[in-house]
């Protein structure tokens, strides 16, 4: 109980910090909305001129794009600063975490709250609602539950992967480089269905860097696009499993990382 309480106290104070810069808030929210509208607009122009992208129609692509955003927005709202771990190590902030009688992980997670990312959630919800109406979807209870689970799994997947990358800083001193390398994978999976790409890419984003489980695979289920005749059909349902596996890996790595840090220091 105390851990959860502590987390909310930390979030509260992060929120208080952010409130100090209200002007950035409006600009930031508008910025994120325009940015996403422009990205969707570009995809829209492309797909309208060619009627579809493989067998994905415009609104299916909007759905895919927004499913990513929904899962990702929870991550970026609460946890996106975990990428800063490298800086926390350099600046000695992490030493302060260890100085206090509380879990360093909770202190790390509760360090910031990027409340501008509320805009992402807004875009995601709007986009999904529009797509739901445009595509004439009628989900049963099972599909709705899967939708919710898919979003939460998406959040966990991106959090776990990014936290793993961030943890590499405990050994190598820097993690930014790895983030740079993975970012094009993120942006491609975010915007396009992975079945249009070559096999190598599909395998990478389904195993080593399993971000396809954030939007592509659950979207297959939610849009009734699963081809049950294909050998890999079961992958479409695997998002929660992938999320759990990653969660297991990241908690183990975190423990190792702490041990590494306390034995090697700065």
């Amino acid at each position: 109980m105390h851990v959860i309480q502590l987390y909310f106290r930390l979030i509260q104070i992060s929120l208080l910090s952010r409130m100090q810069y209200r002007a950035n808030f409006i600009a930031g929210i508008l910025g994120l909305i325009v940015w996403n509208v422009i990205n969707l607009g570009l995809i829209g122009i492309m797909v309208t001129q060619f009627t579809s992208l493989k067998d994905w129609t415009l609104w299916e692509l909007v759905f895919l794009y927004c499913l990513w955003i929904l899962g990702h927005s929870l991550y970026s709202l609460f946890f996106s600063h975990t990428r800063q771990l490298e800086n926390y190590l350099i600046e000695g902030t992490f030493d302060q975490f260890l100085l206090r009688p509380a879990s360093p992980l909770i202190q790390l997670l509760g360090r910031e709250l990027e409340y501008i990312e509320i805009a992402d959630m807004f875009i995601g919800l709007t986009g999904i609602s529009l797509a739901y109406a445009q595509l004439g979807l009628h989900w049963d209870v099972w599909k709705w539950s899967f939708f919710i689970i898919a979003i939460i799994s998406g959040t966990i997947i991106v959090l776990a992967i990014n936290l793993l990358i961030a943890c590499s800083a405990f050994w190598t001193g820097r993690s930014r480089g790895t983030f740079i390398i993975v970012s094009p994978f993120y942006s491609l999976v975010h915007q396009y269905p992975v079945d249009i790409f070559g096999n190598a890419f599909r395998i990478i984003v389904s195993s080593l860097l399993p971000v396809a489980f954030m939007n592509y695979y659950p979207a297959l289920v939610l849009l009734d696009k699963v081809d049950h005749a294909s050998s890999g059909w079961w992958l479409s349902y695997m998002s929660p499993v992938v999320a759990l596996i990653l969660l297991g890996i990241v908690s183990g790595v975190w423990r190792l990382a702490l041990r590494q840090y306390t034995s090697s220091g700065s």
Partner: protein
């Protein structure tokens, strides 16, 4: 002119050569090339020869666009905003050197550097791995380079204007951000402008942003040929002259204001 090169060279040396991040960003470009290439291949299997442009031309357009992505946005506005915030702008104004020219020298140094260390290697990668075609004739290649330079100058002046505004407002992020979003949409960097329908297409053709990506890439791929090339380059020049005049005009005023306020 000598001074110009001195600045460019100095900047050339000071630039990111030793930053690993920088190299990793370069290394991540092929992944994006790979992705966009597949997107266009997929679209073209549905509708071969769309808009009278072949798949090869389209892939070349998209891959080359990734290769030259980093050339244009050299960011003099960040330098200007930072100098203004720290008060170091006074030192810049004290130099016996026109500030506008100084910024141009800095940016050009940065761009030359990026051509050599990013664009050329990326083009080689594109050529060997992602079907990037060579230009049809030597003349096309030459016109492409001219169009790139003009596109760079047009964009530099847009950024310089932003920087001039930042010197007064001391805030750059939101306005800079709006600029990049608009440029991203209307430059033809991701989706070529001939796909833009109706009003959007018209707007894209009037705004200066197409000078950066759309014009050079269309010339290179041969989508724009003959008299249309002259027209496109003329359009770039027109915008360049216009932006140059506005830049000088605005800068005179901003400078007067800084001197008045004492930095």
């Amino acid at each position: 002119m000598k001074l110009f090169w001195a600045f460019a060279r100095q900047h050339f040396h000071a630039t990111a050569l030793y930053r690993v991040d920088f190299w990793l960003r370069v290394a991540s470009t092929p992944i994006l090339m790979y992705g966009t290439r597949w997107v266009w291949i997929t679209l073209y299997t549905q509708r071969p020869g769309a808009f009278g442009v072949s798949l090869q031309q389209m892939v070349t357009y998209a891959v080359l666009s990734m290769a030259i992505e980093n050339l244009f946005y050299t960011g003099p506005q960040y330098y200007m905003a930072q100098q203004a915030r720290s008060g170091a702008i006074d030192a810049d104004l004290l130099k016996p050197l026109d500030f506008h020219f100084h910024m141009l020298a800095r940016s050009t140094g940065e761009m030359l550097f990026r051509i050599i260390v990013i664009a050329l290697p990326a083009m080689l990668v594109g050529y060997f791995l992602f079907d990037l075609q060579l230009p049809a004739t030597l003349q096309t290649g030459f016109l492409f380079v001219v169009a790139i330079l003009l596109g760079y100058l047009v964009n530099f002046h847009l950024e310089f204007l932003l920087g001039s505004v930042a010197l007064v407002t001391l805030e750059i992020h939101s306005i800079d951000w709006a600029f990049h979003a608009t440029a991203r949409f209307f430059s033809g960097q991701f989706v070529p402008l001939w796909l833009f329908p109706g009003v959007l297409g018209l707007l894209a053709n009037i705004l200066p942003f197409r000078s950066t990506f759309s014009t050079p890439l269309s010339i290179y791929t041969g989508v724009v040929t003959g008299g249309a090339v002259t027209e496109a380059i003329g359009f770039q020049m027109l915008w360049l002259i216009l932006l140059f005049i506005i830049s000088r005009w605005l800068w005179e005023r901003v400078q007067a204001r800084i001197v008045l306020q004492g930095g």
